[in-house]
Symmetry: C2
Amino acid sequence: MKPLRIGLAGLGTVGIGVIRLLRENADLITARAGRPIEVVAITARDRTRDRGVDLSTMRWHDSATAVAQDPEIDVAVELIGGSEGPAHDMVLTALERGLPVVTANKALVALHGDSLSRLSSEKNAPLLFEAAVAGGIPAIKLVREGLAADRLLSVGGILNGTCNYILTEMRATGRDFTDVLTEAQAKGYAEAEPSTDVDGWDTAHKLAILAGLAFRPIAFNTLSVQGIRDITATDLKFADELGYHIKLLGMARQAENGNVAAWVRPCLVPAKAPIAAVEGVFNAVSTQGVFSGPMTISGRGAGEGPTASAVVADLIDLARGTAIPVWGTTSVSPAADCASLADLNSAFYLRLNVQDRPGVMAELTSVLRDHDVSVHFVSQHDAATGCADLTIITHQVPEKAIHAAATALAVLPVVTGKPLVLKIEDAFA
Amino acid sequence: MKPLRIGLAGLGTVGIGVIRLLRENADLITARAGRPIEVVAITARDRTRDRGVDLSTMRWHDSATAVAQDPEIDVAVELIGGSEGPAHDMVLTALERGLPVVTANKALVALHGDSLSRLSSEKNAPLLFEAAVAGGIPAIKLVREGLAADRLLSVGGILNGTCNYILTEMRATGRDFTDVLTEAQAKGYAEAEPSTDVDGWDTAHKLAILAGLAFRPIAFNTLSVQGIRDITATDLKFADELGYHIKLLGMARQAENGNVAAWVRPCLVPAKAPIAAVEGVFNAVSTQGVFSGPMTISGRGAGEGPTASAVVADLIDLARGTAIPVWGTTSVSPAADCASLADLNSAFYLRLNVQDRPGVMAELTSVLRDHDVSVHFVSQHDAATGCADLTIITHQVPEKAIHAAATALAVLPVVTGKPLVLKIEDAFA
C-alpha cells in the first residue's frame, strides 16, 4: 500500500516523539490509517546532534521551507514553534502548494488562523492542529467533531500545565509563587523565561483556538489575559476554607449579538467540580452545550508522548481522508473583537490586606456599597502584627463594579498592598 | 446544496430529540456539515401519537425495513433499540444496500458488531454509533480518532447513569439499594424492569464496544458481569472511611498474548481520582495509553439532548465524508473470548457480617492466610446486637485466591450472610 509520506520540520522533544511513535506503533497505525505513515524528509537547526533515533533513511533539508517544497511528500508537519519565521513560512509554503499541514503550533494558529483558514480553504489543503491545544487531549476533535451538532454556551478550562502545577504545589505545600516557580524551573516543568506560561499567554493562544472552533475566530489582541503571579499561598488557603480551588482558566462564552466573551485569568472553582480535581501538570477542557450539557475531558497537556500522540492522530485522520475546514465550518466569519466584559455578572473573591483597627470593616463595606457591590460573605484573618487579611465573596455583580470598587479600595489609607480580585467561575458549578 | 437525506426509525425520546436538534440548529449544522441534513422518511410503532413536533413533511413508512429501502434516503438512522428484530433488520437492509447507518443501539453493536463490521466493510457503507456509548460524550471518537495513534493499556469507566445515580444517592443519604431504586424509578431515572441497568448488562454492552475499538472485538458472552444489587449503604460508608468511592465500572485491559481482560462490576476507586467526582446520572470514560497517558472524559450519559447530539454528530461526520471502519481499523480480528481473570492481581475490599465473639478475627484471618490472601488492613464495625461488620483490604492477590477465600469464609458458622468481594481498581490511582 502506498505510504503517506511526511516531511517534518523541528526535531525537538515532540518531533523526535513523533518519529518514535510512528516506529513503535507502526503496525497498529498502518491498520488504523489504512496505509503506512512514514517520515521521509526532515530538517532541524542542528544536523549533527545525536537525538537517539535513527534518521538515516530520511532526506535532510536545509530549511523548513525546503521540506515543504519537497515534491516527494504528501503532508508537511511543522513542529518548530513560534508564530512567525520559519514555522509560518513552512505552513504557508505547504498550503500554497495544496499540501495538507499538521502543526502543534498554538501561537501560529491563534494569531494567523484567519489567513491560514482562508488559504487552506482556497487551496483545498487541510490544516490540522490537534496537538496545539491541551497536548494529548483531543480537545479540538471534541469541539469540532464530537460536539459538531450542538450550539455551545461555553468552552475552556485548564490549558497550561506549568501554571496548574505551580498552583497545585502552592496549595499543597503553602509555599509562595516565586519559590514554587524556581523549583518548577529546576524540574523542567517551567521555562527559564516563564512569562509565556505564568502570565497566561500560552493559555490565551489555546483559548483563542477553542473559541474559534466553538463560536467564531477572535482577534487575539482583544483577549483579556491575566496570569498567576499575584496569587499567594494565603489565597489558596482562604479559597480552600470557602470550598474552592484556584485554577488558571481560559474561558470563552457566547455573548450577545454573536460576539464572544473570552478571558484568561485565575478563578475560583468549586472544590467539588470535576475540574478542581485536575491537578499538577494535567490539563482539562470543559464545554457546556445546549443539547449535550456539561462535559469535561482531562489528561496530559504536554510532553513528548501525549503531544506526539495528537500529531500522529491528525496524520491518521489525513490518511483516512478526513478533510474538515480549519474552524470546523464552511461559513467562517472573519476574526472579531472579543465582547467587553464590563457588564458581565459574576460573583467575585476579593482579598485585601488591611490595618487591623476598629472601624476598618465598616469603612471597606461602605466603599463596596457605594459601588453597588453586594457582599455575600466576609472573613477576617490575622496576618502580621497590626495587619489582617480580609476575604470577601460578593453576590453577582458586573465586572466593572467590582473593578471600580477595588480601585477605590486600593487608595484607602487602611488598605495596604494591592487588592486582589478573582472571578468565581460558575461554568463548573 | 443537496441535503443529506435521513430515513429515521424510532420516534421515542432520542428520535424526537434528533428531529428537534436538526431543526433548532439547522444553520449551524448546515455550515459545519457543508450541506443541510434533513429527515425525509420516518417510522414508529404508533403513527397517531402527538409527539409535539411537526412530522408532516416526512414520508411515513410501515416498518423500519421499509425506511431502509426508501430509494430517496442517503442515510438510515436506527433508534428503535434491541439487539434483534426490527432494529437488526433495518441495519442489515441498509448496509446490504450500501447505505450508511447511524445507530444509538449498544446491544446491537455489542452482540452483532462482528457480522455488521464485515458487512459494512464489504458494502463500503459506514456504520456509526457514537450515541451507543455514554450518550452525549464522544467516547467512540475519543478512542477511534483522538487516540488512534496510541496503543491503549486500558479503557473503561462509569457507563451507566442509573447505577451511578443509585450509588451516589445511597452514599449521600445512607439509604439502601431497594429504597433508592424505587425512588429512581418514580423519578424516571430507572426503568420499571431495572435489570438491564442494575445488573450491569447495559454497562457490558457499552464496554464491549469500547474494548472492540481499543483492542479487538470480544465475544460478549465471555464478559464477566456483576451488578450493584449487593452493595449496601454500609459498604459505601466503609469505603468512604477508607478513602474510596464505590462505582459500577466497565473496564477492559490489554492482557497477555493479544487477549483482552474485561469485566463489569462495582469497584472501589480512590476518592481523589477524577472519576470519583463523577456523580449522579453522569458517565465517564477513562483511557490509559502508552504515549497519551491517562485521560478521562465525563458528561451526560443519556437523555434526549445528549444522545441526539451524538447521533447528529455522526450525521455531520457522514456529510463531511468521513468513512472509518466499524472498529477503527482495516485489519479486524474476529471476536475473541475475554481473557480469564483468575490470575489477574488486584487489591480487594472484603466485607463480612460476622458473629461478634472472641476469636472471630483469628479464625477469619487464618482462612485468608490459608488461601495466600495477604491482609493490608482490617476494621471491625458494630452492627446489630451480637453481630459485627468486618472490612478487610487485601494486598495484591490473584482473583482466584480472593474468590476461593470468600467461598471458604462463607461456610464458616461465624460468618452470617454472603461475603462481599469488591475489586479496588487501580487504573485511576
